[in-house]
Symmetry: D2
Subunit: 285 residues, 4 copies
């Protein structure tokens, strides 16, 4: 397993896609040295985008959270989130009625679409259940798990409607040793219980990459071979971008630990084009 | 699909195993006419046992709940529950320390074993986590889902201990149209998130049939071909008993509706030896 | 379940995507009346494309097979096959060496890419195994199942390389009652045995819809809402196109029988925008 | 991870259950030193049995194969195979007609049962298909994979009959680096394609342990805590015996390599009571 120099790898590409968690930041804050990476990209006139499986906040709120951590250049235009795909789906395919959701009120605000009314699952009752035309799972917080997960199950048993989840992660880290179940894990449980297929947006699914690719091409002519995807997770970032035809870089600052990287690549068969210790410009995080 | 006469079928067997839910009772109470069935079995000197995937109560409490519904002859000796297998496992294989559990305090009381201390997952902390030598999932009530399911996930990430669930059901009915997620559904979610294998006791697994068969033979010499299992669910009662070598009867008073029975048998390949409308002595429920 | 008039539905769209098997043809030949549909589309100046999970033949060969059945207007430019995505992947991501394949020699000819050498799995041995940089599963014929499926398993155990399958179907019909295992079914077996993730191109994955959408836009400005996908299978054609944001029509001339359609839609939650008896212009097939 | 002394561990038990492959023998022959183990067990008057997921040969043939390798004391009474459970199932539950099989003629001879006729899948045709009352998968050899796996799929689509597999392994080793797909892997593929549930006999399922336990108790009174199961595979031997309530020993001469044992135990949560380098009496294999 050869460790490449971050700077020499990115010099070959015109556009860089970054995963957020484990590449740019972690539970403690920014990955050390990552600010310099963005300064360098700006100086080198390379385009950069953050491709994130996050449906709990709007692009503006996600950008603001990076700014607050100290990454000043990031704005909403740099964000491609799986929540944007969920919203596109609602815009295109759900014409009217109520969109029921599990998540915070804030997360629901973001998916609001003209002609649709959003309501938390807790507010669904006999008087409005027949108007519910979609269920969206946005965040693992903002609702009572016992009451509302059970209500979501019964909603899907009674109504033949699309169920959407924009985060395929099962867990997310909260401290060095502890994790929390993510909304993707809850979606998997509900899916297996009701026997219905959820629409899953977000990496590794190709659709978030075409969304990002279309977005880039709208202001800069570019081919797939000029784009590099940087991620910390083999089975989302790397396999998804590989399959879409992008070159890929695995960094070792997140879910794939330096000691495990080689074993995991061999056991899964998911092979990045490059491995770097970190996406920070000075190497080791 | 030929519908057999209940009375003529049971006349061929010495011992009758009954599933509880959907065969003897449902969310409304006893299946109409089922009392006469037990009077008849007693009169005919046939042995009967209730084989149930329930780990939330002791055999005594389960028997009492049948008595309360009006089924007077049932006592604790007639009950074989998956919880009894979980308890046997703890007795045989967990020598000391703490057994953490998800469920009600009452359910935990039942699995208490000499030398072991039971504690709800909510009471596990840094001071005692290293003494936890097993996790048992007993009931979907009695704990805070958000806090304690997340705690159970982190417990299994930190401790290499057996995780036990004695109910393989994902849901249970609460009204005509509504269901609740059962502890088996929660177990499946935790299992897939932590990537560890739960020990699952209860139908369709052979071990509960072995346990019942051993129990019967301890006071009456009997062979497998003299035992009939009656159930309402193909993928637990029927496939489990078929595989163990017992003859099986599907009744249509529970999860398998009369209109679906033939299709389900054909699509799953799980074939009961007999189909009856009900286990009530007078036929139609 | 309302059955719509085919002609009135397609009048609302500028571009029509057709699945092939079960929509245009079946094991007996063309779906009766389907020729008139294409005459009508040409007359109405609507664009049409066939979106097919077939990697066993080139677009030219697929078009020729439709011509031979009597569908004269179809040419290679109307074909979008999952094999084209597999080829794009090899072009973009496999720089050199050998591409080993399971399939006919003819199927392999099609994926040939500059700089790559294709070899059947049967020709892989100790002298060339280290040059194998990808494995592609193309067709269920053209190789010895016992010898070559076992060889493919061992190849993937020894080499960390991408494994690609461009057909997600498990079976295909060969007569009214009989099916054959498709290469997708073999891929699933190999995948589970070696524990590595295959790259799967073809419906329901979004990437084939992206490929088709990009292709259409290269000569005609069109939005997603102006495109209709017509398919016979809920879990490939319909869910895939729904998720991509296209409107969808289920036809009842293939895998979804008229008597089952409503039940299947309700049990899977996969809902087409329209249901028609057939894609033939005169209605009933 | 503490490595125990084999001799001191077995001194605590009255009955020893051995897995065959990876414990007593491997692809090269006997595990070095294993003969002395059996001499010692005989001298110490301990009972021993070989519990094996093998349905391709009779107990007599399996015993003969051990004798031929040099393990003289083993006879048919020491063998408990999953094939014996498949045979018991046929005896108890399939009253008449044809049992179709995939495997060698020799393997089929073994499952012959009074009143049943065995026929290879290749011999099933329109004249006899309606008499087929069970399908049994016995061995990965003795049939044409392409023809007969496809025929087995169509048989299960046309007949609602039990399908039985007595080997849950997906692969078996044939040389140091190469494996072959086992009949269990083929069963999984057929099962997923036809959507029907196979009856799976053999470890980790409890039924083979109760079969062995009943067998032992028929001539020696013994409790579960006096029995030790020795195996090389966590997810069959160890989890199965643990769950049945037996103590377990993992040996490192088979599928679990010394370097991986600790990681695998931690990642699966499947914990043996003891770990020994080998079941050979002198320690290191």
């Amino acid at each position: 397993m050869e460790i490449a120099s971050f700077q020499s790898v990115i010099s070959k590409y015109q556009v860089i896609f970054f995963d957020a968690y484990g590449v740019i930041k972690n539970y403690k804050g920014l990955i050390p040295g990552i600010e310099k990476t963005f300064d360098y990209l700006i100086q080198q006139k390379k385009e950069y985008f953050i491709i994130t499986n996050d449906a709990s906040r709007s692009p503006e709120q996600l950008a603001a959270s990076f700014n607050k951590l100290g990454l000043k250049p990031i704005n909403a235009d740099h964000i491609i989130s799986s929540g944007m795909l969920a919203k596109e789906y609602l815009d295109l395919k759900v014409k009217d009625g109520i969109v029921a959701y599990l998540g915070t009120e804030n997360s629901a605000h973001y998916i609001e679409s003209s002609g649709l009314k959003t309501l938390p699952v807790s507010a669904i009752d006999e008087t409005n259940i027949n108007e519910v035309n979609a269920l969206v799972l946005l965040d693992d917080e903002g609702f009572d798990w016992y009451d509302d997960i059970n209500k979501a199950v019964n909603l899907l048993r009674q109504r033949t409607i699309p169920a959407i989840v924009a985060n395929t992660d099962n867990i997310y880290p909260v401290t060095k040793n502890n994790v929390s179940i993510a909304i993707g894990g809850i979606a998997t449980m509900i899916e297996s219980i009701v026997g219905k297929r959820f629409l899953r947006f977000g990496k590794p699914d190709s659709q978030i990459f075409i969304f990002a690719y279309d977005h880039v091409r709208s202001f800069k002519p570019v081919t797939k071979s000029e784009i590099l995807m940087i991620g910390d997770t083999l089975h989302t970032d790397i396999i998804g971008a590989n399959k879409f035809g992008l070159d890929t870089m695995l960094v070792l600052t997140g879910t794939t630990l330096p000691a495990d990287a080689e074993t995991r690549i061999r056991s899964t068969g998911i092979t990045p084009d490059f491995i770097c210790e970190s996406a920070a410009i000075n190497g080791i995080a």
